[in-house]
Amino acid sequence: MKFKSVFDIIGPVMIGPSSSHTAGAARIGRVARDLFGRKPDYAHISFYGSFAKTYRGHGTDVAIVGGILDFDTFDTRIVDALSLAKEQGVEIKITEEDALTEHPNTAKIILGDENDKIELVGISIGGGKIEIVELNGFELKLSGNHPALLIVHNDRYGAIAGVANILAKHQINIGHMRVSRKEKGQEALMIIEVDQNIDPVLIEEIESLPIVQQVVKINE
């Protein structure tokens, strides 16, 4: 089931005018910000489908930038997000794409600074609910509703067991898990959605595994 909580239906509390094109866009932007981990120097946003056709009217541009500035769906600063981004020195570029995507409300975000860059694709599936479907070329499925761990690791035996052992030791229950890789034996990505918040000690433990390259956590 895509919708698991009554508050997906009665909610979110948000700044208008559209749950999918405003609140959903803000959430996609905010997950991108979480994944990047800090304020980026630039944000390049591409809109597809209904997002591309109607983003001005729905404030999708304003909302997604609001999310990138770490604002929640009900944060009234969203209304001024474009000028706030300018003030904070975040360069914003928005492109309308013609390409057909699987879902009508699709956005691609590239966030970066001089040290790092991430690229993700998010979809807004209705009522403010979103999914992240691609990250740095990896296919994935991330709701952003639960705390989650994103672990970049070598595609070798024992990687999943190593991470799962640490989670078990800390009594963390896994709600959803997915592993994807670009090519056999190369870099792989593990996405683990969990039920409770994740302690920084646990992150350090996972990072210390020889097979692991990078760990990012996302919290609700």
């Binding site: 895509k2 239906i9 009665i10 948000m14 005018p17 749950s19 999918s20 409300n105």
Partner: protein, 295 residues
């Protein structure tokens, strides 16, 4: 756990409780949160709805485009004249639905039910009922869980997105949700709630999503008005004992299939329907400062 309306009604009947109770129990089970936490979050959502309604019927709210705003007040004033044809309760609900959507269009704070574009129907009917039936705060919160239960089924088995299923998936779903919750608050049975949902949604099937200039304003605000009135009539019909010949779950399924076969131009792309009328195109050009021949 319930996956469809039939199971929802069955659970409520077996446990001799309300639809809203089943929704609260399922939420506790799914999230591991306590009843108090869940009830207080819904209470906060109710407060947001109340504030949006209040703002819309007292303040002269205007959207950035200037397309919508002020109609809720017009209706409230008309109501006071005592000349209304459709009756005070009906028009009160309609004006409060409009109020919510006018606040939404003005980028004000609202609670999506189930979406922002359809956020007027549920609170509109609820806050009109507040004056008519004098419910307790707990009963008003329960109203939101009851409507949420039906919305939950629609969201998982069909769609609540205009871009995926047209306006029938948004205002249509909201109308069905409100109709079912009105029945519960008015003392009807769980199966009467399901009948009300079916009757309400049947009358919204095929409704396309064709927002002028892509804005959640025209015709969205007035569709919420009609959704509120439709919900009240459907609830009354169900309370009178009228049944839908097509079961609620099959109506939801029909809505899903209609949404799938609806052309993209009529699913929140502002390319067809009212959005493609000459007046809509003129308004669009004016709002965004684009020359008409460039469209």
């Amino acid at each position: 756990m319930f996956r469809n309306v039939a199971e929802l009604v069955e659970l409520a009947e077996a446990k001799e409780c309300k639809i809203s109770d089943i929704m609260i129990e399922q939420e506790m089970e799914f999230t591991g949160r306590t009843r108090e936490e869940i009830l207080s979050q819904m209470d906060r959502n109710l407060k947001v709805m109340e504030e949006a309604v209040e703002r819309g019927i007292t303040e002269d709210v205007k959207s950035h485009s200037g397309l919508t705003g002020g109609d809720a007040i017009l209706l409230q004033n008309y109501l006071k004249s005592g000349k209304s044809l459709s009756g005070e309760f009906m028009l009160d609900a309609v004006s409060k639905a409009i109020a919510t959507n006018e606040v939404n269009a003005a980028m004000g704070t609202i609670c999506a039910t189930p979406t922002a574009g359809s956020a007027g129907v549920v609170p509109g009917t609820l806050f009109a009922l507040k004056d008519k039936l004098n419910p307790t705060r707990e009963q008003m919160v329960a109203f939101l869980f009851a409507s949420g239960a039906f919305g939950f089924v629609v969201a998982n088995n069909a769609s609540i997105s205009g871009a995926a299923g047209g306006c029938q998936a948004e205002v249509g779903s909201a109308t069905g949700m409100a109709a079912a919750a009105i029945v519960e608050l008015a003392g009807g049975t769980p199966s009467q709630s399901a009948e009300a949902m079916a009757i309400a949604l049947k009358n919204m099937l095929g409704l396309v999503c064709d927002p002028v200039a892509g804005l959640v304003e025209v015709p969205c605000v007035k569709r919420n008005a009609m959704g509120a009135s439709n919900a009240i009539v459907a609830a009354d019909m169900a309370l009178a004992g009228i049944k839908s010949r097509i079961p609620c779950d099959e109506v939801i399924d029909a809505m899903y299939r209609i949404g799938q076969s609806m052309p993209t131009a009529l699913k929140e792309t502002a390319q067809g329907g009212l959005a493609a009328t000459p007046t809509a195109r003129e308004l669009e050009a004016k709002i965004f400062g684009i020359a008409l021949d460039k469209k």
